[in-house]
């Protein structure tokens, strides 16, 4: 087990270093960093001084080492556009994206699992067919269209929910939250449904097919033969066993929720990291782009690592194959 953990952590570090190299090359080779920090009036001597201060004259390998060292201390340099430290800009926006991602994941789980269980238990009922159709729509409609559709229905037509922005935010000092006010929760509803719909349909389909498979197994038949109530059979025996893959998928999908937040945040003008990243792409604000890339990659790798380790804990076959290799 220890060997498996160490090997897995080693792989994760390798991936992170690769991404760091890409981030670094972005920063170093795309456009001239000094060009962005100076105006036309800057003299040549001043430019050279800036180059020297930034350490752009050192060997590339030393620059890369410095970049990694700085990144480890959350120092990503200064934004070209805002002239503020990138770490501060990201720090300000981090809570907004995290709360949106959390709310979406919760929506996906708490809507997806019951729908999947129902569709698995009664695959031929009309409601199960409705769920299947809805899930087909959820998969084939692009995210941004779902967002626009929701805005059109709930904000424009019925005026029930706000169509953009993050309102009712309470500042806790180290974190800003929208969960404490009614306004904040209301403005969170549409974006989190938009962002979580794809994952919800994924979970629903997964739970449905797992349920149908588990219900055919011998131990479920045996539980029925023992005269247990359908409730006990369906939920205590069957559902429990479908949840392991659900946890894995949810974990892995958390990463793509954070990435797809770029689209949702744009549709709803949600002041998160994704919106900032998009603006950085449009204005070629390289420090923000490379910091965002590193941050998202770290989140991805961490989530993958945790899911893998949890899986090895739950499923002994993976541990054993790790030993054999």
């Amino acid at each position: 087990m220890l060997a498996f953990i160490l090997r897995r952590i080693g792989q994760a570090i390798l991936v992170l270093l690769t991404v760091a190299l890409i981030s670094f090359s972005l920063f170093r080779f795309v456009g001239d960093p000094t060009q962005q920090m100076t105006s036309q009036d800057t003299t040549l001597e001043e430019r050279l001084q800036i180059r020297k201060n930034l350490g752009l004259d050192d060997p590339v390998i030393i620059q890369f080492a410095r970049f990694v060292g700085n990144a480890a201390r959350f120092d990503f340099g200064v934004s070209y556009q805002n002239r503020q430290p990138v770490a501060k800009l990201i720090g300000d926006r981090f809570p907004a994206t995290m709360e949106l991602a959390f709310a979406s994941a919760m929506f996906a789980l708490f809507a997806g699992i019951p729908m999947g269980v129902y569709a698995g238990l009664k695959p031929n009922s009309w409601l199960a067919r409705v769920f299947q159709t809805v899930s087909l729509v959820g998969i084939s409609l692009p995210t941004f269209l779902i967002g626009i559709l929701l805005i059109f229905i709930f904000s424009v037509t019925f005026g029930l929910l706000p169509s953009f922005g993050r309102q009712g935010v309470v500042n806790l000092g180290f974190w800003t939250t929208g969960f404490l006010t009614w306004e904040g929760i209301r403005s969170l509803i549409l974006p989190s449904i938009t962002l979580g719909l794809f994952q919800m349909t994924l979970i629903m389909r997964l739970v449905r097919s797992e349920m149908m498979e588990v219900l055919r197994t011998d131990y479920v038949k045996f539980a029925k033969a023992r005269g247990l109530t359908p409730r006990a059979v369906n939920y205590r025996h069957a559902l429990k066993n479908t949840l392991i893959p659900v946890i894995t998928i949810t974990g892995l999908q958390l990463g793509s929720i954070i990435a797809f937040a770029i689209i949702t945040e744009t549709v709803f003008q949600w002041p998160g990291m994704g919106l900032m990243f998009l603006q950085a792409v449009q204005t070629v604000d390289i420090p923000i782009m490379s910091a965002y890339l590193l941050l998202v990659a770290t989140l991805f790798v961490l989530i993958n690592l945790i899911v893998d380790l949890l899986y090895a804990l739950v499923d002994p076959r993976i541990r054993l194959s790790g030993k054999a290799a």
């Binding site: 795309v30 941004f144 626009i148 770029i262 689209i263 792409v281 449009q282």
Partner: protein, 320 residues
Amino acid sequence: MSHRAAAPQPRLKLTWKERVAIWRDSDLWLSFKASPVAIMSTAVTLLIVIAAIFADVLAPQDAFDPVALNLLDGFAHPMERGAGSNMLFVMGSDEQGRDIFSALFYGTRLSLLVGVASVIFSMVLGIGLGLLAGYLGGKIEMLIMRVADIQLSFPAILIALLIFGVARGLIPPQQYETTAVFVIIIAIGLSNWAQYARTVRASTLVERNKEYVQAARLMGISGFGIMARHVLPNVMGPVLVIATINLALAIIEEATLSFLGVGLPITQPSLGTLIRSGQKFLLSGEWWILFFPAMMLVILALAINLLGDWLRDALNPKLR
């Protein structure tokens, strides 16, 4: 001087008629005939493709030539005649008097063009790298597959955005508009190659040890020749399925990028750009500017997706 009569050479070239006969006898055609969904989605896709190709002839208005527009026609409702030119706007017009129906032809054409080109780009790249990895093995295989692993763990849209950002940094601003189409094709293409590489590598590993490959090797055919002429045709089935489904994904990806404002500019609008420009009128009630391009996008993506689903089932030997 040879006394042996020349043995009749097996004909390698088939006539057109024979090809049709073989095709009509194939499992694929039988499965196609039996599936209404496949027939419907093919018909819809073909119709859209034809409309896109002949956009110049079929569209009632040359929608992206400023000279053809009449500002007095602005914001005509669907099925209304414009106040300026008295032209009938089947799907309404936008603020500049542009016919939405005509704009759809041109937008669909660009969406399809970018989709097809980027799928071809990622297919060629992915197949090449996958064949190399599967056939050569060793360090090259490890390197290619590790890169593919890393890339597959990131969503394609993120990678495409990044590539777009890099391109923006490298291309001078005056050339943004002329290069936009190529940038977006490369960005989407580069973000999707890994899946092909994985599939092709897996099939190549299986094919590599089969007797026909060994026979080809004994005949002295070069490694490249074996890969291109013998292994490649045998791994194309799954690749075609992925390509079809990826075409729908690429079209949606392009629309998403254009919607986010990092895709095609308004002077060369795709469906995504049209949706983006229609979004600001949604709150003021001019719903048609957004609605029709969005519907077109959904229908196009859905038809291609259904086609891909059918193709996957039809080519899956387990389901026969």
